[in-house]
Symmetry: C2
Subunit: 206 residues, 2 copies
């Protein structure tokens, strides 16, 4: 018991509140949900925003295909049911990260309005910021960094969003980024300003 | 462009490293995996550790039945396959939180050695700290805060760990907490010391 007293800790058994974690981190938990076509620039915007937040001392975390499809969702395919379950699980994980106080940035095509709306409903009001990364399909298919559009147009990939599967445009996203005309830096600045206005991060010190 | 320049940010497109987040947080990411019978004291230890870490300025997050079974894993039951998938998903989420730099504390019975070992294999060496919360089943069944042992012994609950389903004791856990003789505060101190020795958190300032 001497050892215990020596730590000089007030012992609690209940949960630490989300507010406690947010105070520690100097920010408020939120999910920035980027949605848009393949090659529209979602991931580049996500990583750029993550870096900008880190430079301002904020904890951000990106959920994307790299850490989700090869991990949590590696037992899911691309059937309609599996696509829905894919987005559902990502939404639940984003909710946990948001509750932990992190600025959570998700980068998934997430083509179906219903699936995105379910994630929004899962979260407390203000916790879900939907960002439509808009880019004409012909611009995306010209970029085509992984050659996926080429394969889809040749019929080698089925159910490829924008080619032979639909993308359902968000009705009321919190932000639309026109990534064909807006630079990635400008996009990140728009997102930082949105997070400031929403009270998730403080304005930078001059 | 004036607006962009005014933010005075160095723009990066690549991933922020785990090390960057850990430096920001002043700690190293880790998963403290508590395993043991129902009513062995896992959750009380988890919340007490979380509070103690918070008081020392560390970001910790508890994954438990409350935020997992009603969320991410609400579409899983208690069949052998579903129990395995339950632990697999929790392991993947814990891995993400660990990568984010958080001290992740999981509180699940997780009765099967094979399932726990798979989570350990998922993570980098040193990222997974297995803690066996050992308590004789008769002590647990006397505590029985939710009346579950009573129901299981009456045959009303099938596959209840310790009564009519096995608990596989960890072979080489990083720590064994004898929760029948050790107070929850002593348990938390043992865990804090373990995290200090593992270099996950600095020793407290005198």
């Amino acid at each position: 018991m001497t050892k215990v007293q020596a730590t000089n800790i007030t012992w609690h058994h209940g949960h630490v509140c989300r507010e406690d974690r947010e105070k520690l981190l100097g920010q408020k938990g939120v999910t920035v949900w980027l949605t848009g076509l393949s090659a529209s620039g979602k991931s580049t915007i996500a990583y750029t925003l993550e870096h900008a937040l880190m430079e301002r001392g904020h904890l951000a975390y990106v959920l994307d295909g790299d850490n989700i499809r090869h991990g949590l969702n590696k037992n899911l395919g691309f059937s309609p049911e599996d696509r829905e379950e894919n987005i559902r699980r990502i939404g639940e994980v984003a909710k946990l990260f948001t509750d932990a106080g992190a600025i959570t940035i998700t980068s998934f095509i997430s083509p179906y309005k219903g699936d995105r709306d379910k994630v929004r409903e899962l979260m407390a009001p203000g916790d879900f910021i939907e960002v439509y990364v808009e880019c004409p399909v012909d611009v995306c298919s010209e970029r085509d960094p992984k050659g996926l559009y080429k394969k889809a147009m040749a019929g080698e990939i089925k159910n490829f969003t924008g080619v032979n599967a639909p993308y359902e445009t968000p009705d009321k996203p919190e932000l639309v980024i026109h990534s064909d005309t807006c630079s990635v830096q400008e996009a990140a600045v728009q997102l930082l300003e949105l997070l400031e206005k929403a009270g998730k991060i403080p304005a930078p010190k001059e």
